[in-house]
């Protein structure tokens, strides 16, 4: 690890001021310190925000929950309100990482975690995300875990989070403070960026901005599911994961929201695929049509082509289950 100065922030403004002056914020540290050991990230200054009062979960006036940015993944998953009202979020959290890591990882940090692309983590290999303009080693390399949707010629990395997939299906808002624009709220649909030709910019956070909370709207109508497919039963990143909220009444799908992990540079949502389902009677054929729409532009890069049929099958299984048609 390269040497760095360390400072414990005592206010959000302190953290934001140092952040805008180039310091890197550390919270749980599980991803940042890992990348610092590999010298993928080499900050000269760290500002530790763990002392800030951002670790509360509170009810909102609208009937949702406001989750402080420093609430750990463990505490969030164990919260009775989350377990009862947002099971898709509890399941997503519990399917991520290990109990030890979930005790450290925070809500804000989880949104900001970096890809596990092997080449991003290997400083001997070109990577446009790590070193803009150097090239992408994954496109013609070993790309089994890489994106099949929304990738660019510059980057085919995926976002690794489970939590963020559930946050997006629940239509959460990300609250930030400390930037030049003052306090603002970023809908999670607009928080993450596709790689395009700037894969090193992964989200809409601006200089000096500190995530202070993530707010969930009231629980959506219908059933919630989170299903994660991975190489081993636990403690592994998703090859594909699906967060689903579907409201079926009188054999008609009233509403459907779907979000996918492991497929793209961000938790992937496609409203066209959701629209295929709405107003229809649940059937295997219908679910196939939704998968066709979702995957119309899907593209593999050699090792990851299996994700296309895997996503199709997983989506069908999730929708069969959530519509009470059994889980094939």
């Amino acid at each position: 690890m390269r040497p760095f100065d360390y400072h414990r922030a005592d206010t959000i403004a302190d953290a934001a001021g140092r952040g805008s002056a180039g310091a890197t914020i550390i919270a749980g540290g599980t991803n940042l310190l890992d990348l610092m050991k590999l010298q993928v990230i080499t900050p000269e200054r760290l500002v530790d925000i763990n002392g800030l009062p951002l670790d509360e979960i509170g009810e909102t006036a609208e009937g949702g929950l406001r989750i402080g940015a420093l609430v750990t993944n463990s505490d969030l998953a164990a919260d009775p309100r989350v377990r009862r009202r947002y099971p898709v979020l509890a399941r997503a959290l519990l399917s991520g990482a290990s109990p030890q890591l979930r005790n450290m990882a925070t809500t804000g940090g989880n949104l900001c975690q970096r890809t596990r692309c092997y080449y991003f983590q290997d400083t001997d290999r070109p990577c446009n995300k790590r070193e803009p303009g150097s090239g992408c080693s994954a496109i013609d390399g070993f790309n089994r875990i890489h994106a099949i949707l929304g990738a660019s010629d510059e980057c085919i990395a995926t976002h690794p989070s489970d939590m963020a997939v559930a946050m997006r299906v629940l239509k959460a808002d990300v609250e930030v403070e400390g930037g030049e624009d003052g306090n603002r709220t970023i809908p999670i649909d607009q928080f993450f960026r596709l790689p395009g030709d700037t894969p090193h910019i992964e989200n809409e956070l601006r200089s000096g901005e500190v995530i202070t909370a993530v707010t969930l709207p009231p629980p959506p109508a219908g059933e919630q599911r989170y299903r994660k497919v991975r190489d081993r039963a636990s403690y592994a990143f998703a090859l594909v994961s699906i967060a689903a909220v579907v409201d079926v009444r009188n054999d008609e799908i009233r509403e459907a929201t779907l979000c996918f992990g492991g497929l793209a540079h961000l938790p992937w949502r496609d409203e066209r695929a959701e629209a295929v389902l709405v107003g229809e009677s649940p059937s295997e054929e219908l679910f196939g049509k939704a998968a066709d729409t979702l995957l119309a532009d899907a593209r593999g890069f050699g090792h990851n082509e299996f994700k296309i049929p895997l996503t199709r099958r997983t989506l069908k299984a999730v929708l069969m289950d959530i519509c009470g048609m059994g889980d094939d």
Partner: protein, 165 residues
Amino acid sequence: METRISVNGEEKTLDADTRTSLLDALRHHFKLSGTKKGCDHGQCGACTVLVNGRRINSCLTLVCMHDGDEIRTVEGLGRPGDLSLLQEAFVEHDGYQCGYCTPGQICSATAMLEELKAGWPSVVTEDLTSCPELTNREISERMSGNLCRCAAYPNIVDAIRQVAE
């Protein structure tokens, strides 16, 4: 960077390079070599210790981030002649072969049983709103952050089950 922490009940002061992980502080500065360095990247769990009662990977945190915290390592759970229940159960059930992962396994299991008492669910808990039961599947899932390259898993599960019951 000066840091004051409590390690196994003893107040300690450390003035270390900011880069020092909690793991390296325990092993090299406090000479508590029970906590093991496996991967040093949060992937194996050998470095698991308890911080304010919660299990974490000590390799992925800086010691300077723990000013005022209470740390417990395997040395703080029991000593020769005065083993903790889990330590005894690991001996009885042969919950290891080479033993390198064992301190991490035992620290992890110690906290895991507390999490279970607190009613924390896991991803294999069928009903998230219920109080989870300690099936073998639950133990395996809850211990999945601790790898054992000797694959002593069945005996580790047996040891933990004995203490839980």
